[in-house]
Point group: C2
Amino acid sequence: MANSDPVYLRVVEDLRRQIVDGTLPPGAPIPSRHQITRKYSVGETAARHALRVLAQEGLIVGRVGSGHRVREKPILTPSYRSRVPEPHNPFAMDMQASGRQPTWSWRSELAEAPPEIAQRLQLSQWSPVIRVRFVCRGDGRPMQLATSYELVEFGQSQAPEEGTGERRSTVARMAANGTAITEISESVHIRVPQPSESDTLELPTGVQVLHVERTYWAGERPVETSDIVFPGDRFRLVYGIPVHP
Amino acid sequence: MANSDPVYLRVVEDLRRQIVDGTLPPGAPIPSRHQITRKYSVGETAARHALRVLAQEGLIVGRVGSGHRVREKPILTPSYRSRVPEPHNPFAMDMQASGRQPTWSWRSELAEAPPEIAQRLQLSQWSPVIRVRFVCRGDGRPMQLATSYELVEFGQSQAPEEGTGERRSTVARMAANGTAITEISESVHIRVPQPSESDTLELPTGVQVLHVERTYWAGERPVETSDIVFPGDRFRLVYGIPVHP
DNA sequence: CAGGCAAAGTTGGAGCCACAGGCGATGGTC
DNA sequence: GACCATCGCCTGTGGCTCCAACTTTGCCTG
């Protein structure tokens, strides 16, 4: 049956089987192109294509000069929670749960809301907003990117700032302002990362990202919206939704 | 600046720009490999690689014999809602909202819970459960796949059944049984589709899927769990989460 | 003995060519 | 005018080769 199939698929299927059943454990080296051509009696094109497919599936990672290896920790899954006891930070909880040191760096500045963001915040285009860009790291490696836009009236400071370390959660900051967040809505989808994103997240080519658009509501009014981007094969989003409470 | 960049990226970026800004509208033909080699003065390998990248991003689709075209409806995004007024079916709502005719086909049978499912239902391995497999279609094209596992005690029928058409929601069915669903929990992540999945969902190679693991709880007890798989670039998951109600 | 350097191996990019098989348009035949 | 066969174009697969950039290893020199 695997007779008229493309040759490279034979290689892909064999290596994939070895990876998923543990014959090739995380970190194990994958045969090089030359070794594959000999072992499977295929040409170099097929060998290269097979490696590309596996890399694209996120099962292996290739580094120039040092070969391909089975991806480390093929998905330890810290979870990303939307419902989390405030004022705890879900990212910090996930990192600590998986034994990693969470760090943050961020930069806030006054900006003009691009059309899509203005729509999400029910503002007119190019209204002033406070934009904060985050990079969340675990053991120093970037794991999540976030850009958040906040109504200026609630912003403590309109001057550019930057820093490292945890930032108080939106709910807590708003509460300190006398504004109660009543609902958080999120929209989740898959997309291809921008080159800059796959760069900073150190994603192998072909791995797509989860993009979460989150909006914080105070009654009928959206007061902050953020875009959160992270590799969705390493993370899980976890939701718990009560049924008619 | 785009000087030391790989040649194929020049082609990718130019074509991508033309697609996103509408110069190449949905359905428009993409230059063939030979045309690309001439137009951009690149080799055939680069042209092929560029087309592969764009196909992998889901922007174009290639068919043997007839060339590449800009993907139709570059993603109208019906949304997938977790919180939905019962007894409405979120899939039906999405399809009707986007002017498509929703249809279903399903098949239920008695099965033994594989380890992971048993764990999710807090059963011992290979306990009997009722497994239902769904294919949800819009205008006849498969758009979502789901497999659900239900405790036998709540199953109306243990004999294999199959049918087409809508099925009552879990919450409604359980309510009819005298069991109130109190919470739905979901875990969401990205993964590479199984060959069978990308086949039935008609996904271009390289497009990954959203995998939702959903569990229905009656108090402390899980009573049903399902795996829902769908292309996360065409669909969105939408959540609305009240903050300390 | 240590440090540095060179060689070997590896990936990723790129070019060229060939062939099988699907698709479509063109032209010729009935 | 309708229908069909043929031919050319296009993709997907696959083979071979070369090169630049990078890593690792181990040897050699100081």
